[in-house]
């Protein structure tokens, strides 16, 4: 008599040793056939060889301490060049003793971007963050800011108008009265200012020495051009996208015309127009700040591209959403802001971030009009006759910095896609 083990209790044997663990994985994935085995070995050899060569160049024979370019020559990578030049590459011709200013401006801008990446901030806080952040950034960069009276009046007027349109049927009467008051102050003040009754007066905030835009350079320039270019291009692009879907032929025609014109020419030609043609049209002696010209060109260009991305999102919405909003008695701004855009923008996040990353790098085209962004200060570091002749090191360094920015943007896009699509995922 044998104690037969019940069938269900029989323990499954462990898989053979060469099917599990590292060995098993390698057998299955790397050496499953003769051909695959040889490919694997050749590729591993190639990787080791390249890595060996690169480490030899970048680390073991590299020079970290040379004081002139000629001392660096002959060995491996000349990282001493980066050590000597990194302040110039990051901050350009900004007065050397004051480099802490662009440093803190960059930190402020990064903090501003990181904070506004958090979804919990996506309300009135966003306005505060950008208002305070931008103020600190430009105060540090310029050193002095003059806020003219007319600007304050204009902001009051704009605030009143925007508040009134968005909250017209929703706000209590006291809030509406406040908007009317703002509009009143704005209109009357501006009229008096133009008539010359109110003096030309401005609030001067001048804790630091004034540094003009022509001395800005490096990372702050890249960040300002990209951040503010896209920050302004985003609402502008939304307006263009809405305009393109408008029923009014004039608005539609203008928006289509603008978008197609801008998309039909390269950014470089727009920058050349701004720097070579525009000054010839202006009366002699009049010049518009070069940096401002580049910034406007970037905004116009990015606006057209963002508009088309957003139009894709708008078109993906079912008609029922529009009709439901109409049925609830919402006016056009309310319908657009509360019902349509939140859904449309969610759809277009990946292509939007793609556009953002593209423009972050495209800003280096401003070299064409003699503005020194990050890549161009890196280029400039190559020209110094004392340190000339090490392009590899400088470009690797620049690529590394660009990669950090672009990679974090793409990770953020991934996180955002995940967060915003929670509702639609099963």
């Amino acid at each position: 008599m044998t104690d037969a083990m019940p069938v269900g209790d029989r323990k499954p044997l462990p898989p053979p040793v060469d099917e599990t663990g590292v060995v098993g994985w390698a057998r299955k994935n790397l050496f499953s056939s003769w051909g695959n085995g040889i490919t694997t070995i050749v590729l591993i050899a190639a990787v080791v060889w390249i890595l060996n060569w690169f480490l030899e160049w970048a680390l073991f024979t590299a020079n970290f301490t040379a004081t002139t370019g000629s001392e660096c020559r002959g060995g491996g990578a000349c990282w001493a060049l980066i050590r000597e030049k990194f302040r110039y590459i990051f901050f350009g011709s900004f007065p050397y003793q004051q480099h802490w200013r662009p440093l803190f401006a960059v930190i402020t801008m990064l903090a501003m971007l990181v904070l506004s990446a958090d979804r919990r901030m996506w309300n009135w806080r966003l306005l505060v963050i950008w208002g305070v952040g931008s103020f600190i950034t430009f105060l540090l960069m310029f050193g002095q800011i003059h806020i003219p009276l007319s600007l304050i009046l204009f902001v009051a007027l704009a605030g009143g108008v925007i508040g009134l349109t968005l909250r017209s049927a929703l706000a209590p009467s006291s809030e509406r009265m406040a908007y009317y008051a703002l509009i009143g102050i704005g209109v009357v003040g501006l009229a008096l200012r133009i008539a010359g009754v109110l003096p030309k007066w401005s609030i001067a905030i001048a804790p630091l020495s004034y540094v003009e835009t022509s001395l800005w350079g490096g990372l702050p320039v890249t960040l300002i051009l990209a951040t503010y270019g896209l920050a302004f291009a985003f609402p502008y692009g939304i307006l263009l996208a809405l305009g393109r879907r408008s029923n009014l032929p004039l608005i539609k025609g203008l928006c289509v015309g603008f978008i197609e014109l801008i998309r039909g020419v390269p950014l470089i030609s727009l920058l050349i127009m701004a720097s070579v043609m525009l000054p010839l049209f202006l009366p002699s002696g009049t010049t518009i700040d070069k940096f401002l010209r580049a910034q406007v060109a970037v905004i116009l260009f990015a606006g057209a591209y963002i508009a088309e991305v957003i139009r894709g999102g708008l078109q993906s919405l079912p008609k029922g959403q529009f009709e439901a909003a109409d049925a609830m008695g919402l006016n056009y701004p309310q319908k657009t802001l509360l019902i349509i855009l939140p859904q449309a923008l969610r759809v277009v996040i990946p292509p939007l971030i793609n556009t953002f990353i593209g423009f972050f790098k495209d800003t280096s085209l401003v070299l064409i009009i003699g503005i020194f962004d990050f890549l161009n200060t890196a280029n400039q570091a190559l020209v110094d006759p004392n340190w000339a002749g090490f392009p590899g090191e400088v470009y690797l360094f620049a690529a590394f910095v660009y990669f950090i920015f672009c990679f974090s943007m793409s990770r953020y896009s991934k996180y955002l896609e995940f967060e915003l699509n929670k509702g639609t995922r099963r």
């Binding site: 000629s70 000054p279 010839l280 202006l282 002699s284 009049t286 010049t287 003699g370 020209v383 006759p385």
Partner: protein, 340 residues
């Protein structure tokens, strides 16, 4: 910022309204601004480049500083505006810069049709040849049958062909599009000769040669590229100051006045030196600047020889020989009319 821009717009409007009849309008604007706006290149080694602290240096930069020293008595009252090759002439025409010193070749059309005045030649450049010392070649005339690295579609390529044809020699061109690759090909030994503008040859030798001492630049220069400072038509007084600020640097070198000995030279008995340094007044008044204008230039910037040596010459990594840029008394072309 806004206020400053508006003030600028208003000031510009007023200046414009004053009309072109007023001869010194550019100079007045410069004085009112308290700063000279000088267009330089976006980075050419030895001519204009920013150092590790963001300070501009170079032989072109020093011309700007000399003009500022003549006008304000302070060589630092100048703002350098980097301009690209496409943008430089518009920047000057539109008033974005007062003065352009940007390795710009002096030609008839630029001097006339573009509405500019060249005020002198601060560097005589021209196409040259670089070879490895191992070839044992001492003159371009010995280059018969050589392989030559050159960029396609440039005047450089045409000059090269003309030169070899007129001297009844043959050559094998190695035509490569990108300048970096041309250099790499030359230093890898794919060709015997590398040709481009001489200043470019020196810069390449200093920056890209594995051992710069192994290469020589042959003495023959086969084309004319005179580089000089440029101003707009319309303000002859300002053009005069730019012209004579540069001549003063040449005159100072000729009379042996340097930034080191300029204070002792004030006590010199030589009437020419007395006139130049303003000990005998008159020259500054004639030009409409301070009588000590040359003293300020030499003290703060240096004479032409010092500047050349410091920026592109023996005292710099480029090690360009004086050659055509030596004074006329030493067999070169640099010749200043007398200051009297």
């Amino acid at each position: 910022m806004f206020k400053k821009v508006m003030a600028g717009v208003l000031a510009a409007g007023l200046v414009g309204a004053a009309g072109t009849a007023y001869a010194g309008k550019d100079l007045d604007a410069i004085k009112a601004r308290g700063q000279l706006l000088c267009g330089v290149s976006t980075g050419v080694a030895g001519f204009a480049s920013a150092d590790s602290q963001g300070k501009w240096t170079g032989i072109d930069v020093d011309v700007c500083r000399a003009v500022a020293a003549a006008i304000f008595g302070d060589a630092d009252k100048v703002k350098f505006i980097p301009t690209t090759a496409q943008q430089r002439f518009t920047a000057l025409q539109s008033g974005e810069v007062d003065l352009l010193v940007r390795t710009t070749t002096y030609t008839l059309t630029r001097d006339t049709a573009l509405g500019f005045d060249f005020t002198g030649i601060n560097y005589y450049d021209g196409q040259g040849f670089m070879v490895n010392k191992k070839l044992g070649v001492k003159s371009a005339k010995e280059l018969n049958g050589a392989t030559v690295c050159v960029q396609p579609g440039t005047t450089t390529e045409l000059n090269l062909a003309d030169y070899f044809r007129t001297n009844k020699m043959t050559f094998k061109p190695v035509v490569i599009e990108k300048i970096d690759e041309v250099r790499a090909a030359f230093f890898a030994g794919r060709c015997d000769v590398f040709t481009t503008d001489a200043s470019g040859l020196y810069a390449t030798r200093a920056a890209n040669a594995p051992t710069p001492d192994d290469y020589i630049i042959l003495p023959e220069i086969i084309s004319k590229e005179p580089l000089g400072p440029v101003v707009r038509h319309g303000d002859n007084q300002f053009a005069d100051i730019v012209r004579w600020a540069f001549y003063a640097m040449l005159e100072a070198e000729e009379y042996g006045i340097t930034s080191k000995n300029v204070d002792e030279m004030l006590k010199s008995d030589n009437p020419a030196i007395k006139r130049i340094l303003g000990v005998t007044p008159g020259m500054g008044k004639a030009l409409g600047v301070d009588e000590k204008w040359v003293y300020n230039i030499i003290k703060q910037v240096g004479n032409y020889g010092e500047v050349f040596d410091r920026t592109v010459g023996a005292g710099s990594p480029l090690k360009i020989a004086r050659g055509q840029n030596a004074l006329w008394t030493q067999g070169g072309l640099q010749y200043a009319p007398p200051i009297r």
